[in-house]
Amino acid sequence: ASAYAQDTKIGFIVKQPEEPWFQDEWKFADQAAKEKGFTLVKIGAEDGEKLMSAIDNLGAQGAQGFVVCTPDVKLGPGIVAKAAANNLKLMTVDDRLVGADGKPLEDVPHMGISATKIGEAVGQAIIDQMKARGWKMDEVGAIRVSYDQLPTAVDRVEGAISVLKAAGFKAENIFDAPQAKTDTEAALNAATVVLNAHADIKKWIAFGLNDEAVLGAVRASESVGIPADGMIGVGIGGAESAINEFKKPTATGFVGTVIISPKRHGYETALNMYDWIANNKEPAKLTLTAGALAKRDDYQKVRKDLGIE
């Protein structure tokens, strides 16, 4: 680590500090910090206001730049302005900033994967599984565990639905199960209602915002006595919630999860930011990562490939 590194300070702001995903991003960012010997300041900012304060706060502690996963992409212009005001270098991760017009802010370096893309991956995984089980599409019901308050959530489920429809899944067989909160219990309650309302349907698929949401649907299917082979749930995230499910002695309706690598998102962004500050090497404007599907049998391998654990 160069002498300069000692007083290099980089902020890493995330929108949901409690979420394992962001915990991992932070963990890998720390790894980069350790290697290069700069200080990493981790701040959680659940909403726009907290985010603005966080940026001021970074400026105040004399950081030179920060990586951010914003609570809302529409904050774009505000974030850019704040960063400039505090003359901090700015990079975004996971969610890409957009301007008032809704177009992405091209000149802010970004690394991530679009919510829609992840959703599509989920949809594809479900289709494949249905084929594998030899299900007929029109005897299958779909639970859309939705949390429409959160734009990312909408994009993800819509992504999945688009693929399903493309594959010929009937729109009227997709039932909405709005969760009041983003935890498993809420999803469980919402999904239970759907299942009971359509007792005639015996085969179900489920997708949602994240692993917790899909798990709720799977639990619901179990509670109303639908066997594991009558349920196909594919989640997003691939953290403990999913792993616990895979670890269970017997297979459940939770067949897989789309894992995104927190390693690249955490480690590389932090590293890029450091190079930018220390060696004035500006990162690529846009780096798109891909999600990988992990199943009960191959999840350890997938995680290794992605450099997690």
């Binding site: 919402a190 209602v193 009971n196 917790e212 639990r219 509670s223 403990e240 919630s241 616990n244």
Partner: protein, 316 residues
């Protein structure tokens, strides 16, 4: 209307009557509502709120307030899972969870009763602290359950009815009895109705309040265990915002925040109203955003109806 009907409507149980009418209406108007599957689903969905409401009722009746319930439920769930994974004995896990709940509740009680710190602030603080513990204990991650028997707590059935619902029913019965027929219950109401008078009458106000909060903790522990078993894992961010649902269920059920007034039947009705609202809205699949509005309107209507009732009754 005839005087007898009037009498029933305006009597102690008027709320219940109104509820039954409402229930009948929903059953008629909402398709797939009145199926036994859906009824069981409905009941299971109110287990957590219902269980915690039992003791929250005492808390409010004694003019206190508890915001920490959500965190305690989550924490207890984590403990239950981690402890039974660690010891390999589910029983020990359950005991540990309930013990943790009791300790947190007891701390709440002592701080509030002995140090005379406002209940809202105290429980707001413990709410944060306990949530912190829950997150730290597992580094913010969900914890899986090793022994499948643990799931059975929630999945097992008795006479075709899942265990959690039985637990809920039993707790309703117990706390209804405690409120009306025991010294503890009456003292609680007295403390809420007139703390000064209760103190002068020799009621041990502090001890009673500490007990109330400890019980609340225990009950949250039970709720946490059942929740963990239902979602087959301990999740540190479970039951966020539970406190508000529980408190509004109680107030819906005619529990006065000014203390001194509470009935178990009322609280049960309050809990069910909330559950039915959620259930029916999803059955009618009302879009998420409109659900907010419906929820709010239902809350208002329910209380408004009850007020009309009681003002017709002539009480302020």
């Amino acid at each position: 209307m005839t005087d007898r009907l009037k009498k029933i409507l305006l009597g102690e149980q008027g709320l219940v009557v109104i509820f039954i009418v409402a229930f009948a209406l929903v059953s008629l108007l909402v398709p797939n509502f009145l199926t036994d599957r859906n009824m069981l689903g409905l009941l299971q969905s109110v287990v957590t709120v219902g269980i915690v409401a039992c003791t929250m009722m005492f808390c409010l009746a004694a003019r206190d307030f508890d915001l920490s319930v959500g965190s305690i439920v989550a924490f207890a769930g984590m403990v239950a899972v981690m402890a039974s994974n660690y010891t390999g004995s589910i029983l020990l896990g359950l005991i540990a969870a309930i013990a943790c709940g009791a300790v947190v509740g007891w701390v709440n009680g002592v701080v509030i009763a002995k140090f005379r710190i406002n209940a809202l602030i105290t429980t707001l603080a413990t709410m944060q602290i306990v949530r912190g513990f829950a997150l730290i204990s597992s580094d913010g991650r969900a914890v899986g359950i090793n022994s499948p028997d643990f799931y059975q707590l929630a999945l097992s059935k008795l006479l075709g009815i899942p265990t959690p619902i039985w637990v809920l029913a039993v707790l309703f019965a117990i706390f209804g009895f405690v409120l009306n027929s025991t010294v503890f219950g009456k003292n609680t109401l007295a403390i809420g109705g007139n703390p000064e008078a209760s103190r002068l009458a020799g009621v041990n106000v502090d001890r009673t309040r500490i007990w109330i909060f400890t019980l609340q903790g225990v009950v949250c522990g039970i709720a946490g265990i059942l929740l963990a078993s239902r979602i087959t894992s301990g999740q540190p961010n479970a039951a966020v915002g539970l406190e508000l649902s529980v408190i509004s269920a109680c107030v819906l059920g005619g529990v006065s925040l000014a203390g001194g007034r509470a009935t178990m039947s009322g609280v049960i009705v309050g809990v069910l109203i909330m559950g039915i609202a959620e259930n029916a809205m999803n059955l009618l699949n009302i879009p998420a955003f409109y659900q907010y509005i419906v929820r709010g309107v239902i809350l208002l209507l329910a209380v408004l109806l009850d007020n009309l009732r009681s003002s017709a009754l002539g009480r302020r």
